[in-house]
């Protein structure tokens, strides 16, 4: 599949900040794909989107669309359309004329532009809303109109800048579903900025994780969770379990014991940090039948996470966290065994810093889970 958009070595600094907002970012978007740029506040993700749209001039690097360098191309000629967190519907136009805006500025006759706009309003399930003033529709409807307006511009790349972050969780889920449906019908190439891991996972094929202006990892959503390339990625993706040890012949040796690593990857021998997603660890009673499986430990803390509980277990002096469903009675001081599937184990270089490797709220505070 060909690349629609290539971002090559993009850098950008602002005079108000000493550190660069974007630092040598490289990214390629496949045609028809949806890539989520995920990162904490101030990581440079919105600046990246604005640079692609032509609203910010990069200090260095290139943005190439279908083989054309966009350096000297003005925003209106880039073939992009952007939907922001605020719908930014033109208040002096009604819903239909907002959607018809791109066509009318291209010189399409008003009647034809409106007919076309009505088609896109149907696509976002707002048929019959065309004649309403934009002040007479709800926040969710306004965001649908904004998406219809952007799609009606037939953009080469659809840019979404945290488009659903101002909506309530239920409405957000509906909008995710709508976006999935639109992708199935129109297959637009989408570059979406979000700070919500779950949103990225719900709508995107690939995630580009950005932190302090640097691209940390650009990968499939599942690999970003299960095969982080660094501790920072693991933490930013909400991972809480980091075990220092040594690798030899595909086996990680630590205070937890000998834990084999997945055979699908060649793991380098030497020191390494084993990272395990807390959702992948299952918790069992320390009964005689399960005595030969898993890692023994003592429950030290339980925190409620809505439909699940975050259980902290002391296993041979190592603090592990696991998410457990409700149902089984659990309390601090209970002896349990933890089962860690081989596929859930991954190795990253480096040493966990003592300040915050396994505190659940360190990473979750940085990138919202969307819960």
């Amino acid at each position: 599949m060909s690349n629609d958009l290539v971002i090559d070595g993009l850098s950008k600094s602002f005079s108000s900040s000493s550190a660069p907002v974007l630092n040598n970012v490289n990214l390629a978007l496949e045609s028809g794909s949806c890539t989520a740029v995920l990162g904490p506040s101030g990581s440079g993700k919105s600046t990246l989107l604005r640079a692609v749209a032509g609203l910010e001039a990069p200090d260095a690097g290139r943005i190439v669309l279908h083989g054309t360098d966009l350096a000297r191309v003005s925003p209106e000629h880039r073939g992009m359309a952007m939907v922001s967190q605020r719908p930014l519907l033109f208040p002096h136009l009604n819903v239909l004329d907002n959607v018809a805006f791109a066509a009318t500025v291209r010189g399409v006759r008003r009647r034809a532009a409106r007919t076309d706009a009505a088609h896109f309003l149907d696509l976002v399930q707002l048929e019959g809303y065309g004649r309403r003033p934009v002040t007479a529709i709800s926040g969710g409807q306004a965001q649908r109109v904004a998406i219809a307006r952007a799609l009606a511009a037939r953009p080469a790349i659809l840019l979404l800048d945290e488009p659903f972050s101002a909506l309530d969780p239920q409405l957000r889920s509906t909008m995710h579903e709508l976006l999935v449906q639109l992708r199935e019908r129109l297959a637009p190439t989408i570059l979406m900025v979000t700070h919500d891991r779950e949103e990225a996972a719900a709508v995107a094929d690939r995630v580009a994780l950005l932190s302090r202006g640097r691209l940390l990892q650009h990968d499939r959503v599942d690999l970003l969770y299960s095969r982080p390339v660094s501790l920072e990625v693991h933490r930013l993706m909400g991972g809480t379990n980091e075990i220092t040890g040594t690798v030899r012949d595909g086996v990680h040796y630590s205070a937890l014991g000998d834990l084999g690593l997945p055979a699908d990857t060649g793991w380098p021998d030497g020191p390494g940090v084993l990272v395990i997603r807390q959702e992948s660890i299952s918790i069992q009673d320390n009964t005689r039948s399960s005595a030969e499986y898993g890692v023994p430990g003592i429950v030290t803390d339980i925190r409620v996470l809505g439909p699940r509980r975050l259980v902290t277990v002391d296993a041979s002096g190592i603090r592990l966290q696991t998410e457990a469903p409700w149902g089984r009675p659990l309390g601090a001081g209970d002896a349990v065994r933890l089962t860690i599937p081989v596929s859930a184990r991954a190795l990253v270089p480096g040493q966990p810093d003592p300040g915050g490797p396994t505190t659940a709220d360190t990473a979750t505070a940085v990138i919202s889970t969307g819960r």
Binding site: H92, D97, A102, T135
Partner: protein, 288 residues
Amino acid sequence: MAVTLPPGPRTPWTPPRGDGSALRISRTPGRVGRTLLALALAVWFLLPLAPLGLWLFADRWSYPAALPEAWGLDGVRSALAQGAGPAFARSLGLGLAVSAVATPLGALAARALAYHRVPFPAAVNAVLFAPLALPAFAAAFGLNVLLLRLQVPPLAGVILILSVYALPYTTYTMRVAYGSHDLGFEEEARTLGATRWQVLARVHLPLLAPALARSAFLAFLIGWSDYLITLLVGGGAFITVPMLVASAASGTGNDSVVAVLSVTAVLPPLILLLGLGFFARKPPGGLS
């Protein structure tokens, strides 16, 4: 000591009645006071217009008669004979010219100030607002000499100086508007394919139209109602409605003429003000 406790499970909290914030709930004494004040203000504004309205159609009205003793249109005929028609046209032209110059200049200055595109904004602000502090006579007298030496035509000089006097009003009005104007609309329009000029015509101007109309109205008032600068810089050759009013009012026995000319002076701004109020109430999303 009595202590007020927050509502607990046994004392359910009841929300205040009425729409909107509880802070806006009106109590009876306040409501009565506001109504009386509004009535007093209305009387204060409207009462002087009553004798003016009567004088329009009064051929004779001597003290101590409560109402005119002879009705007629002598005042209108006299005003027309004194050149009220051409003076009205000149005043209208002057107001429109000042509005046409000062409104776009004020908008440009306000945009630059709002988006911090000018160095030393405090100094620029001070210069822009200086005409408000400077006595009109002093400015007009000094500038008149300068304009004469530069051989600037009197009418152009009048428009130029009045536009400078209108600038603080237009700049301030537009500065407030730009303060709440969201550039995101313009960026959105650009990414949707609109050129700079299309953004100006189809997004920027429609969004700022109410503020531009207010600004143009204020500038029009400066040109329409000026007396001193028109007299000094115009050299007395450019007769406008305020000059006719002043001339008639300075004599005796011209009450009906003064009334006609005064109403002539009041009507255009009043019509513009009503128009402004009407268009400002137009619901959004109605243009297409």
